[in-house]
């Protein structure tokens, strides 16, 4: 039964059949289907890819090893779906790929997704000795891209920094994030960025009390 659902995806002949087959496979909640769902990213069928993204996000950390090992370095579209999915799952094993994507990806929207994902990583899944280094790498990345010329990247960096400071629960991290937010809320050229920095700053100040 489950093998048939996988075969229906690999043998779909029209885009509509493909979407239907991916929906059926996703609904089956069948772990061996995970590699097939990831492969859908490379089929150039955005509707099917969105179904696969949501199904994989629902699998959460179980899907992470396959997502990391199946990243397609040659198909840009497929790669961006993988990064978006990893960013949404927020498993810290995705730290390296999210750092690389947030700083150097070709597409601003993938960089934004990676920046937000970096802030939301679930640090409690790491041992405390490794997590402090990982947190500081995520923080440095977000501080760096908070100076990007593109406003949407700065916006995403602020969102990432706000989550990071909240989730990392480390006073030093919170302090350096607050310092950067203060700089942005006074000095950024875009009023939307100044306002988002203010919202982040205020939200962190409230939670620390």
């Amino acid at each position: 039964m489950s093998e048939e659902l996988i075969r229906a995806v690999t043998e779909a002949e029209t885009p509509v059949q493909m979407v239907k087959a991916v929906q059926n496979l996703a609904a089956a909640k069948f772990a061996p289907a995970i590699p097939t769902l990831i492969a859908v990213f490379g089929y150039n069928n955005p509707a099917a890819a969105v179904v696969a993204v949501n199904a994989l996000i629902a699998w959460g950390e179980i899907a992470v090893p396959a997502l990391l090992s199946q990243i397609d370095d040659y198909n840009y579209g497929a790669r961006s779906y993988s990064i978006r999915t990893l960013a949404a799952i927020a498993d810290p094993r995705a730290l390296d790929i999210l750092i690389a994507s947030a700083t150097t990806d070709f597409s601003p929207s993938v960089r934004c997704a990676a920046a937000k994902g970096l802030g939301k990583l679930q640090w409690d899944k790491m041992s405390s000795s490794t997590s402090s280094i990982a947190i500081s790498r995520a923080k440095e990345t977000l501080l760096l891209i908070s100076q990007d010329p593109e406003w949407s990247i700065r916006y995403a960096a602020i969102v990432g920094l706000q989550y990071l400071a909240k989730l990392a629960k480390i006073a030093d991290v919170r302090d350096s994030v607050q310092t950067r937010l203060q700089e942005l809320l006074v000095g950024d050229s875009e009023i939307a960025i100044r306002t988002r920095a203010q919202l982040a700053s205020k939200s962190l100040a409230t939670t620390s009390n």
């Binding site: 937000k116 306002t195 919202l199």
Partner: protein, 270 residues
């Protein structure tokens, strides 16, 4: 918009101003574009660009005036109100694209003395607003004119703008909705734009998101966030709503509930 050849020599403001007086028409054409692109707001640049609005040398077989088009666009970017009378005269030019560029630049310059001349382009109303044979445009640049009247706050022109809500071209309808919202602040027109988001044409949906962002129609926030358009367009439109909210509340950066709501939508799109 004609992008320059990458292999063109690097210009400087002085060189561009000199080139604008060159015998070589292609150098003049490129210099006019360059002065606007890099906002070389120097008096001699403005004077030469204004003079270029009446150029007769650079003329295409179809009767177009390429240098005038570029000069008109550049003057919109330089923000010098001295250009207004020359641009108003361009609204009578035989070249559609010169008239369109002039209307757009008059909108950017924000000088309401242009309103009577802009209104003249609406003569004959919707019935006269038909396509030109064998050209990809209508007889007048209606979108640019309606947009300008809305941005300039020309409330006297409401009776002339309103009929264009019924124009058969969806893009013109959208511009009329946008202008009517700006002129009346009546939500019925904002809602009209939101309804048009159901249009099958992706390009039009992108334009509508842009319109909603510019007019800052806050009740559209959720519709923008869920529209079938690429995320980058949604973010820009929501940023527009946010900016409109904030400008209304001055520079105090007050975190109003609606501003926070818009930011949460933006966060969710990342």
């Amino acid at each position: 918009m004609v992008e320059p050849n990458i292999s063109s020599p690097q210009l400087t403001p002085d060189l561009a101003i000199a080139n604008l007086q060159s015998a070589d028409l292609s150098l003049r054409y490129y210099a006019a574009w360059w002065l606007g692109k890099f906002r070389v707001n120097r008096p001699e640049a403005v004077d030469l660009l204004i003079a270029a609005l009446e150029d007769e040398a650079d003329k295409t077989e179809l009767g177009g005036y390429p240098l005038r088009r570029n000069a008109a666009r550049a003057l919109g970017k330089l923000g010098n109100l001295q250009a207004v009378p020359g641009l108003i005269k361009c609204l009578e030019c035989s070249d559609f694209y010169v008239r369109e560029a002039a209307a757009q630049s008059l909108e950017t310059l924000g000088d309401t003395t242009a309103v009577p001349a802009l209104v003249k382009l609406l003569d004959g109303g919707v019935f006269a607003a038909v396509p030109v044979q064998n050209r990809p445009h209508l007889v007048q640049p209606y979108e640019a004119v309606l947009e300008a009247l809305g941005s300039l706050g020309a409330t006297d022109t409401i009776p002339l703008v309103q009929p264009f809500l019924e124009h058969p071209v969806p893009r013109v309808q959208c511009t009329a909705l946008r202008a009517m919202y700006q002129l009346t602040q009546n939500p019925i027109y904002g809602e009209g734009l939101v309804k048009m988001l159901a249009n099958v044409d992706l390009k039009l949906r992108r334009v509508i998101l842009g319109d909603l962002g510019v007019i800052g129609y806050l009740p559209a926030a959720e519709a923008i966030a869920t529209a079938e358009v690429e995320t980058s367009f949604k973010l820009i439109a929501l940023k527009g709503l946010l900016e409109n909210q904030l400008i209304a509340g001055e520079e105090t950066l007050s975190l109003s509930e609606s501003a926070i709501r818009v930011m949460h939508l933006m966060d969710s799109l990342l």
